[in-house]
Amino acid sequence: MDESNHWYGHSRILSGYCGLPDDTPKRIQGFLQHGWNYLHGFPPNDHWCSPGYPRFIWSDVLRRRGWSMGRRGHYLIGAPWIYLLHQEPGLGRIPEAERRGTIWYPFHGWEKSSVHGDHAKLAAEIREVEQGPVTVCLYWLEFANPAIRRAYRSAGFRVICHGERGSRWDGNGRDFLRGQLTELRRHRRVASNRLGSALFYGASVGCDIAVYGDPMQYEDERPEYGGTARRMRLWPELHGVEVDRAQAAEVARRELGFDYQATPEELVRMFGWKRVGVA
């Protein structure tokens, strides 16, 4: 269907949830939202989401916004992350008292658009704010850039990467989210310079969250999102060095769509993974 359905091992996680082998995930007959987003679950130029196929999205606000923008066929199932948590209740879990330090996710570009910002300055700011050990997790594109790696390493941070997001045909992204879950469960805090999936994932597994530092800019940031100012207006309570944990967990619950978890049988039908006779 679309390559993005298989990113971050999403289709494999859902296969596993449905009790199917996850070596070569099947095609999902629809479009799976692949990251947290505050438009309608997909990028503004979503013409590739052909009508007639469901849009599997994470939360109801995306449906309402999408509807107002002429999109139809939303199907709420919540984030693949919640299915991972369902399958891996104990993965990487350590006693609460042993969780240490902060995992920091600088806002990243992607394969077709890079981000502009001063990483050294950001590293200095992180050093100033964070009390304990800091792990900086970079997207593979930034991780491949020695200058960026150096900017964080020289500040004394551990620098890691969860790997490529992968595809249906290679096993690259297979353990992306599992690795992320393990890391998040080891840390006490998760922080970033922009609100994003990683923060909500962290908040959903008991991390404190923080959003601070230069939010950086895409080369061609789309105006439809409304920019940093709109994120600040929508979630003022989630921005800052200290954020109320319960509030963050509640927002994460809503944004990741924990209330919309579907049963395996329902997913098998909706994804077209069940053979049906044609009348």
Binding site: S50, R64, S68, M69, R72
Partner: protein
């Protein structure tokens, strides 16, 4: 997102990619007249939700402080730029907190378009509570509420509200607090601490109301019905609006079946103070017909109309509408009655009758014809032929548009029908006369227009639209699969070319080595399974 003008305040829940400019209730001059009479001198006014630009301009020109609340960001910026003195709040009504209360709160578009997609839709009652909270003691709230059982619903063939349009991410039909009648509406307003002063029924439709009638004006004479039943161009009719509206009124259901209610309610003033509405009488009725607004009033037992702003009161003539009598005759194929009545009208025109009258604004009491609301004659007095051909044209169009039965064999040709009607009246006209008649009709405002589609049935249209959606989806699927197919074919071609190259290489090796060995080697390499079997056999043996 571009920078907002200084007078725009973002309160939360603003919709960036949205505009209500084209879908807000299109109030005309009748509502403008009512608002003009309600504007408090030097008071504070709040316009909640989208309003027509003319109305906003009028309020902005006369009130001391004017604030508006819009959910659409582009609309808010456009309005703020156009009227820099205005305070423009942009966002969801639930996020709106009025600093000081307002002397007049106008919500002429209702409450539907005050909540945004950013938050779950509030109940109608919840939204009313917020708005009522913004009304100062002694101040007024003017609120429009669409009637879910309005007469316009019965007339329109397509499903209500074009079910599933982009604005309906949370259709109000499932909100149990939405008032299901005028009584319930009054109760809701009282619960919100407001006393209902005036209650108007708005006709002919909820999208573009052109007439406002107070409860006391609901036993209207038939002569005044026509402006209440106009139908817009974007309608697919299943019934004749005039006929249905007339029935609603004659059954005493004019208020219950009104497409929209407009209520004027006030918050009781603080002790001893005077309220905004003390001693003020609002009009019994305001009716807009073309470019003219008339006030309906009573003079003793008689109904009178007065052309605004400064016309004299004119009694409303008694009798039946000529159009109604003609339709009845057509339905029973009584061509003789049609001939006689049309001839009578033609004679009346020739005897100096009102040149602006037509069958739908002319009453007949069995002996005499009289124009319901004689308008000012156009600057250039038209010829009698033009006047009569306009009457024939207008009737022909309205007859066909309403879908009544008639004795003529061409169902979709008003030109031919109009010319025939002229012939029947003994006043033969040609195409040129008819063109002059049509021109006159356009000049007088509210020209008769034939709808795009003939009357049809609800389920048929539903099925057709369903099929159209399925077809769109299927075509999109085909397009997508085509793209994938092309991509796969390209891959296949590449793979084939690769294979071909490999074969060529293998042949070349064979030729170069030319030995038995190479042949055996390549043959074995070409058949790996057979080789593997042989090896296994040897090992096991």
């Amino acid at each position: 997102m571009s920078e907002a003008p200084e007078n725009v305040r973002l309160i939360g829940g603003e919709m960036l990619l949205w505009s209500d400019a084209s879908c807000a209730t299109d109030w005309g001059d009748a509502a403008l007249e009512l608002v003009r009479r309600l504007l408090p001198a030097g008071g504070r006014v709040l316009l909640a939700g989208p309003h027509p630009p003319a109305l906003v301009d009028e309020v902005a020109a006369h009130a001391a402080t004017v604030a508006t609340l819009l959910r659409s960001y582009p609309d808010a910026c456009a309005l703020a730029e156009r009227l820099p003195r205005l305070e423009v709040y942009c966002g969801d009504l639930a996020a709106f907190t009025a600093g000081a209360a307002y002397d007049l709160v106008l919500a002429l578009d209702g409450l539907q378009r005050t909540h945004s997609a950013e938050a779950p839709a509030p109940s109608w009652r919840g939204a009313l509570a917020v708005l009522a909270g913004a009304v100062a003691p002694g101040g007024r709230l003017v609120l429009a509420v669409r009637n879910d059982l309005g007469v316009d619903r019965f007339v329109e063939a397509r499903p209500g509200d074009r079910e599933g349009s982009d604005a309906q991410w949370a259709p109000h039909g499932f909100d149990p607090t939405y008032p299901n009648g005028v009584g319930a509406l009054g109760g809701e307003l009282e619960s919100a601490g407001l006393a209902v002063e005036w209650r108007y029924s708005a006709y002919p439709g909820h999208e573009a109301p052109r007439a406002l009638l107070a409860r006391e004006a609901l036993d209207l004479p038939e002569a005044l019905m026509v402006p209440l039943s106009g139908c817009g161009g974007d309608q697919v009719l299943v019934a004749d609006p005039l006929h249905l509206t007339r029935l609603a009124f004659s059954h005493g259901l004019g208020e219950d079946l009104a497409p929209l209610w407009l209520t004027v309610a006030s918050r009781p003033p603080a002790d001893g103070a005077r309220g905004a509405g003390d001693g003020q009488r609002l009009p019994l009725g305001l009716v807009e017909d073309g470019t003219v607004v008339r006030e309906i009033a009573r003079a003793g037992e008689e109904w009178v109309t007065r052309r605004l702003p400064d016309g004299a009161a004119q009694p409303v003539p008694a009798g039946r509408l000529v159009e109604e009598v003609l339709v009845e005759a057509c339905v029973r194929e009584d061509v003789r009655a049609v001939r006689e009545l049309l001839a009578g009208v033609a004679a009346w025109v020739e005897a100096g009758g009102d040149v602006t009258a037509a069958a739908d604004s002319l009453v007949w009491d069995g002996e005499r014809f009289e124009a319901v609301t004689p308008g000012p004659a156009p600057a250039e007095i038209p010829s009698e032929r033009a006047v009569f051909s306009r009457i024939a044209w207008r009737f022909a169009v309205r007859l066909l548009a309403a879908g009544h039965h008639h004795p003529w064999p061409w169902p979709q040709d008003p030109v031919r029908l109009a010319l025939t009607l002229c012939d029947m009246a003994g006043r033969p006209c040609d195409q040129a006369d008819l063109d002059r008649g049509r021109k006159l009709d356009a000049e007088l405002g509210r020209p008769a227009e034939l709808g795009q589609a003939a009357p049809t049935y609800r389920d048929l249209i539903g099925a057709r639209e369903r099929l159209a959606d399925q077809l769109t989806a299927a075509l999109a699927r085909v397009a997508r699969l085509e793209t994938r197919l092309t991509y796969r074919e390209r891959e296949l071609t590449k793979a084939r070319a690769k294979l071909k190259r490999a074969r060529q290489r293998a042949t070349a090796y064979r030729r170069t080595l030319g030995s038995q060995l190479s042949r055996r080697l390549t043959r074995r390499l070409a058949r790996p399974r057979a080789v593997a079997r042989k090896v296994l056999r040897r090992l096991s043996g």
